[in-house]
């Protein structure tokens, strides 16, 4: 364990605590246990990647932490207080961009700020423009959403999530729909932003290398029911190169573990 990781564990209170969290959906084909017995602590400023096959409950877990869904069992604490609904301290970036097409790029980033009390109009616009600059979209502030490319839309969504200055950022496969080159540029941007703004991040993905590049920790999940079955600490220096040897080595180790877990699961 490196010094910083020890420090994070020792001195700072965990930002997110999940204790025995479970979520069962009542579906048409009976009940689905999307998530079961999840125990998890995420320290302040930590970047945690959730890795798992499709349908293993990653989005559900994120929605639970966001407060968009209520757990059927267990409890979730954010900064020591139980999560009972959505809050501006935990912003979400969804699997699809979820931007509002009737608003301009700037208008989308302003949405969350308009709901923040005690923020005059001028200040709101300044904050929004600051985040648009951070994601490199100043020139497109007054563009319509449909005029942007997929990568630009995801960057607007990132700016919108960052603008209310949440302590926790919940990201659900935000870059899944993008081409490799755009994605790699955004990895760089995201690492830079998290270094500058010091966010606690829960980042869902099913791309092993992506998890290794971004995460301080990589958690593995298995499906039916969704559970956490592995916890890897990534102690490589940043910024990391997705094509580097270190990442490849770690990724193959994680993939092997994931396979082993899946065959265990399949034998059931």
């Amino acid at each position: 364990m490196t010094n910083t990781a020890q420090l994070l564990d020792a001195d700072l209170p965990a930002k997110l605590v999940l204790r025995g969290v479970g979520k069962t959906f009542r579906g048409n084909q009976g009940d689905v246990a999307a998530v079961e017995h999840v125990d998890l602590e995420v320290a302040e400023g930590e970047f945690v990647c959730l890795l798992g096959a499709s349908g293993c409950g990653k989005s559900t877990l994120l929605a639970l932490v966001a407060g968009l869904e209520r757990p059927t069992s267990g409890e979730i604490l954010a900064h020591g207080t139980p999560v009972v609904g959505p809050g501006r301290d935990r912003m979400v970036m969804f699997q699809e961009h979820a931007l509002f097409p009737w608003r301009t790029v700037l208008g989308n980033v302003l949405f969350g700020l308009e709901l923040k009390p005690g923020l005059p109009r001028r200040a709101r616009t300044e904050v929004a423009m600051y985040y648009l600059e951070l994601v490199g979209l100043t020139k497109f502030a007054h563009a319509s959403i449909h005029e942007l490319s997929g990568g630009m839309r995801q960057r607007v969504a990132l700016a919108r999530a960052l603008a209310p200055n949440p302590q926790v950022l919940l990201m659900d496969e935000p870059f899944a729909a993008l081409d490799a080159m755009t994605r790699e540029r955004l990895y760089g941007d995201l690492q830079e932003i998290c270094r500058k703004r010091r966010k606690t991040v829960l980042f869902v993905t099913h791309n092993v290398r992506e998890a290794c590049v971004l995460g301080d920790r990589v958690l593995l999940m298995t499906p039916h029911p969704g559970r956490i079955c592995g916890d890897f600490r990534v102690e490589l220096p940043r910024p990391r190169d997705i094509n580097g040897v270190d990442i490849a080595t770690l990724a193959s180790r994680i993939t092997t573990t994931l396979r082993a877990e899946e065959t265990k699961d399949g034998g059931r």
Partner: protein, 255 residues
């Protein structure tokens, strides 16, 4: 754009010229279908003495009041139907049924209830507007991707804020087309009502048509018809074209 406008203007002029020539050549009885020049002379005269403007204002006021009431009723009811199954099963089904009824069918009842008053006219227009606006709003709101609402909730949007800042703008493309349809229904039903019902409080365009026929003044009938077409086109350009342009620019739709 100008090219296409010119095309149409040329086509129209050609049509009118042919019509004029045929009447002058005595192709049919000019009493039944007078020449465009006769209609034009009538229009100039009626515009000068103010009868046309007065009738247009009376009709416009009826339409405006009825349409506004239809909006005020249809929009919130549409939202209710979108959000609550119970409202859908009651008001929603009723609206679906009543929408198929041409609203001029309400005229006999309206006369009975309100007498020969403005209220009877307004009622017919309201019945023509409300249901299509209600249904379009309900469909539009229901078609909104749930992820927009979820995203708004994470940013702190609740109840009424969500209604006004997510559901309403999100359903705007559907709502505007509902408005447009409601307008068309209202305009048609008002004309029908004005032709059939004589109202003592005002003399609208429909009534001018009616009396044009009674007096065998076909120049008046055709002139008023032209005015009705003109008002319809103008309303389209003033009320809906800008809204649709905005929607297209923002949403990037081809409406």
């Amino acid at each position: 754009m100008t090219r296409r406008v010119l095309n149409f203007v040329a086509f129209l002029l050609l049509l009118l010229a042919a019509w004029e020539l045929l009447v002058r050549a005595g192709a049919w009885n000019a009493v039944l279908l007078p020449a465009p020049s006769t209609v034009f002379v009538y229009l100039v005269g009626a515009a000068r003495d103010g009868t046309l403007l007065e009738a247009a204002l009376v009709t416009g006021r009826r339409l405006g009041v009825g349409y506004a009431l239809g909006l005020v009723g249809g929009l919130p009811l549409g939202f209710l139907c979108a959000r609550f199954q119970f409202a859908r099963d009651t008001i929603g089904v009723l609206a679906l049924g009543l929408q198929t009824l041409p609203s001029v069918c309400w005229a006999p009842l309206a006369l009975l209830w309100f007498g020969q008053t403005e209220a009877a006219m307004t009622f017919v227009v309201v019945m023509g507007t409300t249901w299509s606006i209600l249904l379009a709003t309900a469909d539009g709101v229901r078609a909104i991707p749930p992820i927009w609402v979820r995203a708004a909730r994470t940013m702190g949007s609740r109840r009424l804020h969500t209604v006004f800042n997510v559901l309403l703008p999100g359903a705007l493309p559907a709502i505007v087309s509902g408005f447009k349809q409601g307008w068309a229904f209202a305009w048609r039903s008002l004309m029908a009502a004005e032709i059939f019902i004589t109202i003592l409080t005002g003399f609208g365009l429909g009534q001018m048509l009616h009396y044009g026929r009674e007096l065998h003044a076909m120049d008046q009938v055709l002139g008023v018809m032209a005015v009705i077409v003109g008002i319809g086109l103008l309303a389209e350009q003033i009320l809906f074209a800008p809204a649709e342009r905005w929607l297209r620019r923002r949403f990037g739709l081809s409406l």
